[in-house]
């Protein structure tokens, strides 16, 4: 069994759902090239505007007409998006752009043995979309489509103009007095073939299910995309917050259905003449709640200036991943945590910059600069095997006058292994040049050879010094206190 879902005004209905303020006016979507109405709302239909009527007629019929451009690409996106939503309930979906899609009920028979259950599921799934739709149920995809389009109850009653064939053949059929599919099917197939050609025989075979229909089956996309036309031009972030919230709620609904979270958001703001403004939001830890994502967007928006008024905006969510489990402690310390740690770190990184928030981690290396490394913020610190290291490491070693220091303990010799020296890692071992101008004895034998000492300065603070053999001078690298 096949179901065909016909969505005559998908783009318009979605616009109304996202911008309920528009519902009070006669709203039409028109094709820019032919100046023709493509979709219209109920108010417009009551005034006599129909799809395919020209835009000038629509202006005559409705005084406060709200015309918007029809976008083919957006229609395709919406249909894809809808199919992705239905994919949670129906396994085999085939798109029929621009206005419809097929669902195959056969693979779902084990789950929904009764056809009524399938219908219920379909209605449930489509309800949050707030779109108008008709559906038809037939043994073959073509029958289902014709039933949905014509709106009649029985296969035999389908008017002949819904037959998917060219106008010439349809004219011939009408002249023969065949006004319904039933009448056509009553004629012996061979006779009809003789009179009307092979094309009709093929078509009838497809309708009867004798010939297999080749359909492209739908695969759910790997990202989320939604575009929204703003009611009025806006140039401030404040006014953009509300449409953004609606878009993020759509995203949350989408992610909720998949138990996924996103790590990358791309907001695009379209202006009249200049290039769109893009706002990228990369998250170190995934998020899916609309309120949470709105807070992240706001953090990022504060630091960006809009060059011109915004007409439309779109949102794209990529890097979708399964949700990570949140480790909550039921027994202690639950109630004081108002925000999860990943969310906190996301916020900090967005505001301060990704590189300014990091964790510290041990690394298996004897060279002090390389015995630690930056790690993702929030990772736990591992055990170390190097004892006697200072708490503070200077970002870069500082040259010191050894006369002002008293050596206490040492030396601890560090000598880079030969394989690292030959592997072109020598720059790691070279310290910045202490005395500019003077050529230190460039003894290549001693590249990176250091003697580490614990020493005390004149104020009595214990520091960590090393003697660099290559440059023959002393450096301060850390503090113990």
């Amino acid at each position: 069994m096949w179901v065909y879902v016909q969505l005559p005004s998908l783009q318009l209905d979605r616009m109304l759902a996202l911008q309920p303020e528009l519902a009070k006016r006669a709203l039409v979507l028109y094709c820019e090239q032919q100046q023709q109405v493509i979709q219209c709302n109920g108010i417009a239909a009551n005034m006599g505007i129909h799809p395919n009527s020209s835009l000038s007629d629509a202006w005559l019929l409705a005084e406060d007409l709200a015309p918007y451009r029809y976008r083919e690409a957006q229609q395709r996106h919406l249909l894809q998006h809808l199919a992705a939503d239905l994919y949670q309930v129906f396994a085999v979906i085939s798109l029929d752009p621009p206005n419809g899609l097929w669902l195959d009920l056969k693979p779902m028979q084990k789950l929904y043995p009764d056809i009524r259950q399938s219908q219920e599921q379909l209605q449930l799934q489509l309800a949050p979309w707030q779109v108008r739709y008709h559906y038809g149920l037939g043994n073959t995809p073509l029958v289902a489509k014709m039933l949905a389009q014509s709106g009649v109850a029985a296969v035999g009653d389908i008017p002949i103009q819904y037959l998917p064939c060219d106008a010439k053949l349809q004219g011939q059929l009408v002249r023969m007095g065949l006004n319904t599919l039933g009448a056509l099917q009553a004629i012996p197939r061979a006779l009809a073939g003789q009179r009307l050609g092979k094309e009709l025989v093929n078509l009838l075979a497809r309708i009867q299910g004798e010939q297999h229909e080749s359909l492209h089956y739908f695969q759910p996309p790997l990202w989320f995309y939604q575009r929204l036309t703003l009611l009025a031009e806006t140039s401030g972030w404040q006014a953009l917050r509300f449409p953004l919230k609606r878009l993020l709620q759509e995203l949350e609904h989408y992610l909720e259905g998949r138990q996924q979270e996103t790590r990358y958001l791309l907001l695009t703001f379209y202006h009249r003449d200049i290039e769109p403004t893009k706002l990228e939001i990369g998250l170190a830890h995934g998020g899916y709640l609309a309120s949470e994502l709105a807070a992240f967007c706001q953090l990022k928006m504060e630091s960006l200036k809009l060059p011109a008024a915004v007409l439309e905006m779109s949102i794209q969510a990529k890097r979708l991943q399964p949700r990570s489990k949140e480790h909550g402690d039921l027994l202690h310390g639950g109630q004081k945590q108002r925000k999860s740690l990943p969310r906190l770190l996301n916020e900090l990184q967005l505001r301060l910059g990704y590189s300014r928030v990091f964790g510290v981690q041990n690394r298996h290396d004897w060279l002090p600069e390389r015995a630690w490394q930056r790690s993702a913020a929030g990772s736990a610190i591992q055990a170390t095997h190097i004892p006697g290291r200072p708490l503070w490491l200077l970002p870069a070693p500082k040259p010191v006058q050894i006369q002002q220091w008293c050596l206490l303990r040492g030396p601890e010799r560090y000598q880079p292994p030969w394989w690292q020296l030959t592997a072109g890692e020598a720059p790691y071992f070279a310290v910045p040049n202490a005395m500019e101008g003077s050529v230190a004895s460039q003894n290549l034998q001693c590249v990176g050879h250091r003697d580490y000492w614990v020493a005390r300065n004149q104020r009595g603070q214990p520091g960590w010094l090393f003697y660099d053999y290559q440059q023959e001078c002393w450096w301060l690298q850390g503090w113990f206190s």
Partner: protein, 251 residues
């Protein structure tokens, strides 16, 4: 008769005040700070205090650093043993598996020394210790980050380095800290004694000990702790102590 009644009445009022921790009692001081929680202020358990690692300072502060409060450490010179006073608080955060935030530190906290300290102290939850370093570009960002972190409640110890903080900034930190279970420390240079809403103001003076010097030019480090403000006590200047060092594995 009248005096007894009045006395009972007083007792109840006083008890209320003591329960709030608003009255400082000389007896507590004598018994040592650790026991201060056992009568009057029974809602403060010992777990809410983190030791400073220095018995003298613990006693002066009535048990150590109180959580939910902002403590100020004014250091004459950076790296004069201020962090070793906070090591027990950092250990407590690690065993509670809560992160430690280093906000705008003067140098890099060195990972081997941090995990070395946790291993040496044999902290139960050492494998969960999270240390997060933030290096904001401006002080406004630093303060924003501090407040955000505290409001989230996901923090064990917050260490904040700043040149000087305005009255409002400290007040906001104080309010944010009061909602959490965290220890909050502000580390600055020497500040004047203008009123600020810190729970503790500790000045760390580095006073080189010239008498026992091995060489007169390179003396042994000594610190003097001057408490400008503390809970339940007058300002006090403690006797000189050898410079405390970060408790870590020694070779």
């Amino acid at each position: 008769m009248y005096s007894i009644l009045w006395g009972v009445f007083m007792q109840a009022n006083l008890q209320q005040l003591m329960d709030k921790g608003a009255v400082w009692r000389g007896g507590e001081w004598k018994n040592g700070g650790q026991n201060s929680g056992q009568h009057g202020a029974s809602q403060f358990s010992a777990a809410e205090y983190a030791s400073t690692g220095q018995p003298l300072l613990d006693q002066a502060l009535g048990g150590g650093w109180r959580c939910q409060r902002v403590h100020e450490l004014q250091c004459e010179y950076a790296f004069s043993g201020e962090l070793s006073l906070l090591a027990p608080a950092i250990m407590a955060a690690a065993s509670a598996a809560r992160p430690v935030f280093w906000l705008a530190p003067p140098a890099l906290p060195y990972a081997p020394a941090i995990s070395g300290m946790l291993q040496q102290a044999d902290v139960t939850n050492a494998e969960n210790a999270q240390h997060i370093v933030l290096t904001p570009a401006s002080e406004a960002d630093t303060l924003w980050a501090a407040e955000t972190i505290l409001h989230s409640g996901q923090v064990g110890v917050l260490l904040l380095w700043a040149d000087s903080l305005s009255t409002t900034a400290v007040r906001r930190l104080h309010l944010a800290a009061a909602e959490t279970d965290a220890w909050v420390f502000v580390l600055t240079g020497i500040q004047n004694e203008e009123a600020r809403s810190y729970a503790t103001r500790l000045r760390i003076l580095l006073t080189p000990d010239k008498t026992h010097a091995m060489a007169a030019s390179v003396p042994r480090g000594q610190v003097q702790w001057q408490i400008l403000k503390r809970h339940g006590g007058w300002p006090i200047r403690l006797p000189r102590q050898p410079l405390p060092r970060w408790p870590s594995l020694i070779i």
